[in-house]
Symmetry: C2
Subunit: 263 residues, 2 copies
Amino acid sequence: MGQFERETAIERVGENHFRGELFEGWRIGAVPNGGYVLAIAGRALRAALPHKDPLTVSAFYLTPTVLGPIDCQVELLGGGRGTSFAEVRMRQEGQLKVKVTAAYTDLDKLSGENWSVVERPHFPAWEDCESPPQKGIEFRERVELRLVSGVQTFSERKPDGSGEFRGWVRHSDGGVPDVISLLMFADAFPPPIFTVFGPVGWVPTVELTVQVRAHPAPGPLQARLLTRHLTRGVAEEDGEYWDSTGQLVAISRQTAKVRIAKN
Amino acid sequence: MGQFERETAIERVGENHFRGELFEGWRIGAVPNGGYVLAIAGRALRAALPHKDPLTVSAFYLTPTVLGPIDCQVELLGGGRGTSFAEVRMRQEGQLKVKVTAAYTDLDKLSGENWSVVERPHFPAWEDCESPPQKGIEFRERVELRLVSGVQTFSERKPDGSGEFRGWVRHSDGGVPDVISLLMFADAFPPPIFTVFGPVGWVPTVELTVQVRAHPAPGPLQARLLTRHLTRGVAEEDGEYWDSTGQLVAISRQTAKVRIAKN
């Protein structure tokens, strides 16, 4: 069992009621990464629902989580043959911290047309890309990043002004990415707005939605993260994720508040 | 009072409990438009929350709605000085139909940086653009569309293969778009995948998330709707909306199932 699987494991404590734990190693500053927390909700949903794979999952982050136990109360909301719906309320010491709503399906049973206007971008190999020097980011102990674009944002404090990071991402223990890990990887890049203003300030997530499209093949994921519009301190962050075979496995969008630190 | 305001009005029937009604005029086929339904939830949220404007709103469509009364039970989920959170359960005859989660704020009090990598695209004027011939779409009685690109999809059955519609949209009675109407306009274009496969089949929304950025100025909204990835019958639809002054007022993303009708 890989580190991610171990540290997102849940225990059933009642009907549709689960307990997880937020472990060290996944924090950015003092706060566990929102994608990591969402992955624990993803495990609870998988345990409670007749369908086993996230199709679309939306999380609202009401107040920051802390290390330690987290209570996951799942409520089934109905559904049909192909899709089922549920919500998860994630609480710590009785306080609602994160509210998740999801549609689950069996991804391997999806049938329908395929089409894409965007092909997987061509990246240099994992081995030829650089890790951004992000000192003191505990999360980087668990999730390894290799940037193809935007690395100068960190290495030379030279933002390229693009609003975009491109790069590879993987479990740092080399673990195979499962479909639940996509919920975590969807929040694993630095905020792309750092490529405009530099790696300064605090960019808390208000809401994160992940659409999962396929089970990823083993190997690092290739990703592109982009902010197009920052409006009076509110930005979206859009992500696209391809597996090592070139298959699109997920897309993500979050609403974030951008708090630039003034020097 | 404009038609939209009248037909999304709610009545308080208890603490944080409201009743709306789904009117004729807003259906696509037999089913009321999902954005129209979401706007009614938006009114209930506005009535229940201390903050008055949607910041980000996410709806899961569990089962189709029908014309007639709709019950909106709001639950407050907490929040802080700048943002408050709530959910709405929308029921008809006791059955949960739509589940909405939202973060509300006061948009005029937002402060922070502005930046954009995408400018408002240059469109010909409203008067110089064509309405797509979408016969029998009742929704077009309420929401008028003028397409800048993709109109041949309908007029000549010649999809341009782009995955994109560009165009103007407005209340057909000329009503001023308010911030709640953005929730409806976010689901007002035909599915952009029609530009690839033609205007055939059924594209039900699983989940729709709208980020609102500003109060729109009077006049038609300018929009771009794009599908980038259709994966075994699942597509995202991304929208950007600018008001008549060129200000970005909202972005949207939905998860839709694409059911192409075979001829």
